[in-house]
């Protein structure tokens, strides 16, 4: 039982970190244009 009191908050922390990463990505504009970056990488110089 006692392990739950450590693992659960830890899991929630990980979720929190992932969520902060996502919020940062949205706010820095990475989700604004989902079409262009995809085609940008497929054509490379030479």
């Amino acid at each position: 039982v006692s392990i739950l009191y450590i693992v659960l908050p830890l899991a929630l922390c990980i979720v929190g970190v992932a969520l902060i990463g996502y919020l940062w990505a949205v706010r820095s504009g990475q989700m604004d244009d989902l079409d262009t970056p995809g085609v940008r990488v497929i054509l490379d110089d030479e």
Binding site: V1, L4, Y5, L8, A11, L12, V15, A18, L19, Y22, L23, V26, R27, G29, M31, D32, D33, D35, T36, V39, R40, I42, L43, D45, E46
Partner: protein, 819 residues
């Protein structure tokens, strides 16, 4: 640009045999000696030279690139360097670097992104160029000390991406902010929902295998702690919207949603505190997440269509050729022209301001303002209006009004006012919402009354289970999903739909008002009948070869495959005709009045003159050899399309600015009864006619929707007044901007496709609602009988949502080819 052209060897251009063009791959290039590249046109050669001169040859090895010849406008873009342009569209940062957003024409695939983003290699002084392919918008950063904006614009143009200033900057920023806020809400709701569901799963598993009380308590409190932020932050939108509806004494979808969320969370909180009973938090969080996704998709779908019209808006002419004191022309932004300035208007250009002609005479096409298909001859002293097209010879105008004072701007203001006045359509989902609310509340009461007598402590649990299970998820999620899927698919087939209400209105037959010029007809002068020997055709083409007159272009369009005889034009008479010599003949082409002077014997009068067609006679060596009749011809697909629509039950009417004769001829061909043809309608009359019909239908027992289909500014007010306004391909920006539906394919088949697609979309939505009804009935039955345990609720919720999502997404709505 000329320097680049010189870089292409002269023999590369225009060689006789057909090999694919080295730039665009179109057939009809040059020779096939395989060592030097061949091109289909000078524009492609220029673009090719420009790309290779800067070491970007990789472009031509991409498999996916533009397979269309480059269409460069060849303009100087001098207005891009004007102070007024700079003040409005260019942003200069503190470091002296300038930023500008340009809307580009002709952007379409990955290689376009590659090429455009390598602009810094093509022009010194460009620091970066970024393309947003969905919006065809390039953000260019450049150093104003090293290059000019006009040079950048010329380079874009030479590559076939004709640039225009992007005008919706503020709006785009606002939308971006809204979009990001929505994504943030969805992210938070999603993260919380998944974790609460995981914790609940542990609880359900624990119920089966006797979990110890401390762990159960821990999991319940964790769910509770996670649910509170989900409701307070992302879930708040439902509560505020439901509260606003209640305050306005109406009910919409958000009221039962807010009720279910509140009931579930409230009961869950009490049960968590007391330590027994179901907690419902998983259902509540999943609901918030799924509904937010539905709402986001809905907003995005509407936005895609708005973006398309915005893009069209960006393409309106923005420059005027101001005549300087020394007689030269300088391109300036149309907004920067002052009253009293003199501007030049070239052949084929749209007049950017209102003004009075001070030099030249020409034929003007005023269809955009009046809907007349025939050109009007104007001369010195005549007043001309912005938006009309100069068709035959250069003019100089003294400006009398520019910017917001122009007549076209005034009409646009009326259009906006009409759009604002329009009563909103009550959607199927909204109509159902109020009934759903009543039904749910009544059922909740019944459940309570049944259970309070048997087991008072369980009564509340059963009521809340009922509220959660009957939450109108299907209405709130499935309807926007089906609409979004349909709108997206419609856009792929060339039908841009702005509002969901348009889809719903089009699905039921109503009154269809069609503009004549440009909608039912081609909208251009077209050769309708030709009576004369074949060799005359070649001579006519030879004589008209250098003319830009609409009649000349109509001849060329009609006889695209016919050879051209060597005939030289010797004299043009405005409003009369052309004379020329060659091929052992003296040729005269023109109006009956004009050619009569060259006839040896007077010709018989042309009977067709009364039928609304323009006659043109050909005289060779003093003898009348051929007669041509010109007019606006009916689109080839108009008849079958109208037949299909009439069979579906639509009542069709024709509105036109043209006179009764022309309208009667076209109307007869398209089987309109005389009572349904309205001729000589001004833009104001059209709008009034539409408003009268809308008002009449609103009072009738079975209101039909009034659909206006048109293409010009003259239709824009009528389109805005109609229940559903449809702008057709090639129409004026104003009509497209006010239209609920914009068709990007020519012809009426696109209209039939839009209406069939709308019918099928409503079919999908009805099917979804039926599904939801079945689910809810089962849920209600279980809740009433007290069989809804939290586990059953947790299983029923996602299953119903998933089936409905799948059904919406896979529903066959708009398809590529319509029968």
């Amino acid at each position: 640009m000329t320097a680049l052209l010189e870089a292409v060897p002269a023999e590369v251009l225009h060689r006789p045999t057909t090999v694919p063009c080295a730039h665009c791959g179109a057939p009809g290039g040059g020779s096939s000696d395989a060592t030097t590249p061949a091109f289909c046109c000078t524009a492609c050669a220029t673009a090719y030279a420009m790309i290779h001169m800067h070491g970007l040859g990789a472009y031509h090895r991409f498999a996916e690139r533009r397979h269309r010849p480059v269409r460069a406008s060849g303009r100087a873009f001098a207005e891009f360097d004007h102070a007024a342009f700079r003040a409005r569209y260019v942003r200069v940062s503190d470091s002296g670097v300038a930023h500008v957003a340009l809307a580009l024409e002709g952007v379409h695939c990955a290689s376009c992104v590659w090429l455009i983003e390598r602009m810094p290699l093509l022009i010194d002084g460009v620091i970066s160029a970024e393309l947003d392919i969905r919006h065809s918008r390039a953000s260019v950063t450049f150093d104003p000390a090293q290059t000019t904006l006009s040079a950048i614009a010329q380079s874009f143009d030479a590559l076939g991406y004709t640039p225009h200033p992007f005008r919706g900057g503020d709006q785009a920023l606002l939308r971006q902010r809204e979009d990001r806020a929505m994504l943030v809400r969805i992210g938070i709701a999603g993260a919380i929902a998944t974790n609460v569901m995981l914790a609940s799963l542990a609880l359900y598993a624990g119920e089966l295998s006797a979990m110890d009380a401390a762990s159960v308590r821990l999991f319940r409190w964790i769910c509770f702690a996670l649910t509170i932020p989900a409701l307070v932050w992302p879930g708040r939108v439902f509560f505020t919207s439901a509260w606003a509806a209640l305050r306005a004494r109406t009910v919409h979808m958000d009221v039962p949603i807010a009720l279910a969320l509140l009931a579930g969370a409230g009961r869950g909180a009490i049960n968590t505190l007391t330590g027994h009973g179901p907690i419902y938090f998983d259902g509540v969080c999943a609901l918030v997440f799924l509904l937010l996704v539905g709402r986001f998709l809905q907003a995005r779908g509407q936005r895609a269509a708005a973006d398309a019209t915005e893009r069209l808006f960006a393409l309106t002419p923005a420059n005027a050729h101001a005549v300087q004191a020394d007689g030269s022309n300088l391109d300036v932004p149309a907004d920067a022209v002052a009253i009293g300035d003199v501007i030049a208007v070239r052949v084929g250009e749209t007049i950017p301001v209102d003004g009075v002609i001070i030099a030249g005479s020409s034929a003007l096409n005023r269809a955009i303002l009046t809907g007349e298909s025939t050109d009007v001859t104007v001369g010195v002293g005549d007043e001309v209006f912005a938006g009309t097209v100069n068709r035959s010879s250069p003019l100089q105008l003294r400006v009398t009004a520019s910017g917001e004072d122009r007549r076209i701007a005034t009409i646009l203001t009326q259009v906006e006012a009409a759009a604002r006045r329009r009563a909103p359509v009550v959607l199927l989902a909204d109509r159902l919402a109020s009934r759903v609310v009543t039904a749910v509340l009544v059922l909740a009461l019944i459940t309570y009354l049944i259970w309070v007598q048997r087991d008072a402590s369980a009564a509340w649990d059963h009521v809340i289970a009922l509220l959660i299970v009957t939450c109108p998820c299907a209405l709130a999620l499935a309807t926007p999903l089906a609409m979004t899927a349909a709108v997206g698919r419609a856009a792929q087939t060339g039908v841009y739909i702005k509002g969901a209400d348009a889809l719903e209105s089009l699905a039921r037959p109503g009154i269809l008002l069609l503009d004549k010029t440009g909608t039912l007809t081609v909208g251009d002068m077209t050769l309708d009948a030709w009576d004369g020997p074949d060799d005359v055709r070649e001579q006519v083409l030879g004589l008209e070869a250098d003319s830009t007159h609409p009649i000349a272009s109509a001849f060329r369009r009609a006889w695209a495959g016919v050879a051209t005889a060597p005939v030289t034009a010797t004299a043009h008479t405005i409003g009369g005709g052309v004379r020329g010599v060659g091929d052992n003949a003296q040729l005269v082409i023109g109006s009956p009045a004009f050619v009569s002077a060259y006839l040896d014997a007077p010709a018989a009068p042309i009977p067709a003159a009364q039928s609304g067609l323009t006659p043109v006679l050909v005289v060779r060596n003093g003898r009348l050899v051929a007669t041509a009749l010109f007019g606006d011809v009916v689109r080839s697909d108009a008849r079958p399309a109208l037949a299909t629509l009439r069979r579906k039950g639509w009542h069709t009417e024709m509105l036109s600015g043209d006179d009764a004769g022309v309208c009667a001829r076209i109307g007869h061909k398209l089987e309109f009864p005389a009572a349904d043809i309205f001729a000589a309608m001004t833009p104001e009359m059209k709008a009034a006619h539409v408003q009268r019909l809308v008002a009449h239908e609103a009072t009738s027992a079975r209101p039909r929707c009034v659909v206006m289909v048109g293409d010009g500014i003259n239709d824009a007010a009528a389109i805005a007044s109609a229940t559903v306004g449809i702008g057709v391909h090639g129409g004026a920006e104003a009509s497209l901007a006010t239209a609920d539906v914009a068709l990007t394919k020519p012809g009426l088949r696109a209209l039939v496709a839009a209406i069939c697609g709308a019918e099928r979309t409503m079919g999908v939505i009805r099917r979804n609602i039926a599904w939801a009804f079945v689910y809810n009935s089962i849920g209600v039955a279980l809740a009433l009988s007290g069989h809804i345990t939290p586990m059953v609720a947790a299983i029923m919720m996602p299953i119903s949502s998933v089936t409905i999502v799948l059904a919406s997404w896979c529903g066959r709505t708009f398809v590529e080819e319509e029968q």
